[in-house]
């Protein structure tokens, strides 16, 4: 890996090359896109999104679309704090939870308070801003790493408090009062109601979330273009220099925190109304990691990136829950990866052919040595209960794969051993210099990857998902820290 160290003169000399956008087809599309005025771009995207519900009667799909909008908004908010202001806030999820619980307390039978929706949401926004300022004040004195840990701690304390604040002793009451409902959470929340129109089903909530997303996009974009945005960016690059230039870094940091908190809080409120209840486990570290992965994948500091990251990590997984389709996607992804990423293309095709051949040869050898090791394939015939033609094709593909790969009777142990060999080997391969050895070693390793997929990874999908998120974060930082749509940053020595 080349260190991104530049001598100043060389850096300055390359300014034109940097300013030029991407070339080729991608560049042209990008240029055309940027030429359209902002308002029309937004309306166009919104229109595309808005016709989703009329197209499908499936509540499940609309729910997914709604979830994407929600997570995209959250990712946008986090983007402001981490991307624009450069503050690593690991307690972001606490604001989300705060907004949700606040809504629950204001719109339920818990304390018999039923505020009108607009009042609740406005209040939640204000409350979140307040807490954002409160939480942000330690950030004034802390360096980046310390801030990360302190905010992480806040996030954990929030979950703890929401569980334990159901028996609070106050001096003027004989019995402890129950504020947060403890681990049972709060249920039976009022639905949102705007201008007399009550939201009752998923489609209504989807539209509300979409509008909220659009509002957030607009506001953040405007803010980014304004002086505040520029001030944030300069503070992110070099806080000392920014301060020396006269920028009120303290206020900028607090503003970033408050802004992110407000977005998260209101999103939390809408989420609470949508789910109809709030539970402490809704706001744990899992959600935090997911949102971070979305922002990092999309590109820290990029608006479109946050939405894209949210879409990828929230949308497609839900849609492909069937195991056959999962298998097809995995192998398609693998094949595409091999073909697209090896140069010249010939080597990629050769690698692919090599892997297939390797697999067949290995299977033959195993059959001769230890025929009992392999089990009969679990899918022998395309079942009649499969609904669509596409799924049946996927099943046939699955059958073919199982004929190709060694499928042991006991999946776990060989799979685990293979996994333990695979991870260090992949790491070693990633850092190896290109050459014949690297190309040759790719073949058995790819086969091993497929083997591990079949035996372990596809069997435990939720664990695999997190595993891949972790791996993705590391690889992204090493190979492409700016994510999909971000802009690359370098530190000048």
């Amino acid at each position: 890996m080349l260190p991104d160290k530049f001598g100043r003169d060389e850096w300055a000399a390359q300014i034109d090359a940097r300013r030029a956008g991407p070339s080729g087809l991608a560049g042209q599309i990008l240029a055309r896109w940027s030429a359209i005025p902002l308002a029309w771009r937004l309306i166009g995207l919104l229109a595309v999104a808005a016709i989703v519900p009329p197209l499908t009667a499936n509540d499940y799909l609309i729910r997914i679309a709604g979830t994407i909008c929600l997570f995209a908004t959250l990712a946008l908010g986090l983007n402001v704090v981490v991307g624009y202001a450069g503050l690593l806030d690991l307690g972001y999820v606490a604001f989300y939870g705060l907004g949700a619980y606040a809504y629950a307390l204001l719109s339920s039978d818990k304390f018999n308070v039923h505020w009108p929706s607009w009042a609740s949401l406005l209040f939640i926004g204000a409350l979140s801003v307040g807490f954002g300022l409160l939480l942000g004040s330690p950030s004034l004195r802390l360096l980046g790493d310390y801030l990360a840990i302190v905010t992480l701690g806040f996030g954990l304390v929030f979950v703890q408090l929401s569980i334990t604040l159901d028996r609070v002793q106050v001096p003027w009451e004989p019995n402890p009062i129950d504020i947060t409902g403890g681990s049972n959470g709060l249920i039976n929340l009022d639905q949102l109601e705007f201008l007399g129109f009550e939201l009752t089903n998923v489609t209504h909530y989807f539209y509300v979330l979409l509008i909220w997303l659009a509002v957030a996009l607009l506001v953040i974009y405007r803010m980014n273009q304004s002086r505040i945005g520029r001030a944030w960016r300069s503070m992110r690059e070099d806080p000392l220099a920014a301060e020396a230039m006269g920028m009120p870094t303290k206020w900028l940091k607090l503003l970033a925190f408050a802004f992110g908190a407000a977005i998260a809080g209101v999103s939390g409120g809408i989420f609470a109304a949508w789910q109809g209840g709030v539970f402490p486990l809704n706001f744990g570290t899992d959600v935090l990691i997911t949102i971070y992965a979305m922002v990092v994948l999309g590109g820290v500091g990029s608006l479109g990136g946050a939405v894209l990251g949210a879409g990828l990590l929230a949308f497609v997984p839900e849609l492909l829950r069937s195991p056959e389709l999962a298998r097809v996607t995995f192998y398609a992804g693998l094949g595409l990866g091999i073909l697209l990423l090896t140069r010249p293309r010939r080597t990629g095709l050769a690698t692919l052919a090599g892997v297939i051949g390797f697999g067949l040869a290995l299977r033959l050898v195993m059959h001769i040595i230890a025929p009992d090791f392999q089990a009969a394939p679990s899918i022998s015939v395309a079942a009649a209960s499969v609904s669509s033609g596409f799924e049946r094709a996927a099943q046939s593909f699955g059958i073919a794969i199982q004929q190709w790969i060694i499928y042991p009777t006991n999946l776990t142990l060989p799979g685990n051993l293979a996994f333990l060999i695979l991870i260090p080997s992949l790491m070693g391969l990633a850092r190896m210099r290109s050459g014949r050895w690297k190309a040759a070693l790719r073949i058995p390793l790819l086969y091993l990857l497929a083997f591990v997929w079949e035996t372990r990874l596809s069997v435990e999908p939720a664990v695999t998902r997190l595993l891949l998120i972790g791996l993705m974060l590391v690889l992204l930082m090493i190979f492409r820290p700016q994510g999909l749509l971000g802009t690359k940053r370098v530190e000048i020595a």
Binding site: M1, P3, D4, K5, V82, G86, L88, P138, R141, L142, L143, G144, D145, Y146, A148, I149, V150, L152, G153, F154, L156, V157, Q160, L161, T164, L240, T285, I289, Y292, V296, V300, N416, F419, L420, I423, P424, M427, A430, R431, R456, L457, E460, V463, T464, L466, L467, I469, G470, L471, M472, L473, V474, L476, M477, I478, P481, R489, V490, E491, A493
Partner: protein
């Protein structure tokens, strides 16, 4: 009041046991931060893997059914050695793969990489070893009732082992850092990496050693945790890592005696909080300690004043 005094000595023992473990974890954090200014989120997971390695060694040498294959003392020694070696190598591997390419990247990149590494390790362990709790059968190696009674305090043999080994390791580390050439090189790299390189220090090697030692200590902490607290599971690194970091910060990050002091202090605070306030808010109290320290005295107890060079 008498109840307070009556419980105090026992809570002291409890606190010191906890503190020893936290101190060992904090040392790894402190050392790595001192040299690389990197918060190694994956450190807690190295600790977890150390605990698991110890468990695996134990289940081979002291199987559930039947007798020990080797004398108990030897089994314990082997657990330590294998876990420390394994974790040391793991630490080197993590550094080489996830942190070395990011030596010159903006600060946020290694942080996110560390976060990713932590998630990766946790879930890799869950995938291969499944999500359940594993229990150390310490009673096979050291009988449950073994220990000495000093007045009202019962110091069990296992706890004595924990405290003693932690202190021994800390003494060993201090010797390493103060009296050996490697220690001198480590201190030099921590002060100014480029200057040290110019003076002929092999920076990469020093960093490698630092990670090895820090991770080995974490591995030892994992085995000790398993021996005295018996339960190991794949997310135990998260909490322990957080507490280890709190201890490192409280003592002054980058400062080795500080990490030891911070660890012991945190253990005592936790024991007293549970004993005299309430077990319910244990985690929150630990966290508040951290915040208080960071706000009032960010450099910790023994840390040097943090100067920012322009």
């Amino acid at each position: 009041m008498e109840e307070f005094l009556a419980q105090l000595p026992q809570q002291l023992v409890n606190g010191l046991t906890l503190g020893s473990v936290y101190a060992l974890i904090a040392l790894g954090y402190s050392m790595v931060y001192g040299i690389l200014q990197l918060l190694n989120f994956a450190h807690g997971d190295v600790y977890m893997i150390g605990a698991f390695i110890g468990f695996l060694v134990m289940s081979v040498l002291a199987p559930d059914s039947g007798a020990l294959l080797l004398p108990a003392a030897l089994v314990v020694m082997l657990m330590f050695v294998v876990a420390m070696l394994g974790c040391g190598l793991l630490g080197i591997g993590i550094e080489w793969f996830a942190y070395r390419p990011l030596r010159n990247a903006p600060r946020i990149a290694p942080l996110i990489s560390a976060l990713g590494m932590s998630i990766l390790l946790q879930n890799a362990v869950q995938l291969t070893l499944t999500a359940g709790f594993r229990v150390y059968r310490t009673d096979k190696l050291i009988p449950l009732a073994a220990g000495i009674d000093i007045g009202s305090v019962h110091l069990s043999a296992v706890r004595g082992l924990v405290i003693a080994s932690a202190i021994l390791m800390m003494i060993g580390l201090t010797y390493l850092v103060r009296r050996t050439k490697l220690g001198k090189a480590m201190r030099a790299v921590a002060i100014d990496r480029e200057a040290a390189a110019m003076m002929g220090v092999d920076v990469n090697q020093v960093i490698m050693f630092t990670f090895f030692i820090g991770s080995a200590l974490a591995g030892a902490a994992g085995v000790l945790t398993g021996l005295v607290f018996t339960r190991v599971w794949h997310t135990m690194g998260f909490n322990a890592g957080l507490k280890g970091f709190t201890a490192a910060v409280a003592g002054g990050i980058g400062n080795i005696p500080g990490a030891m002091l911070g660890g012991m202090l945190l253990g005592l605070i936790e024991a007293f909080a549970v004993g005299f306030i309430s077990p319910t808010f244990k985690e929150s109290i630990t966290f508040f300690v951290l915040v208080i320290f960071l706000l009032i005295r960010p450099r910790g107890l023994l840390g040097a004043r943090i100067l920012q060079k322009v």
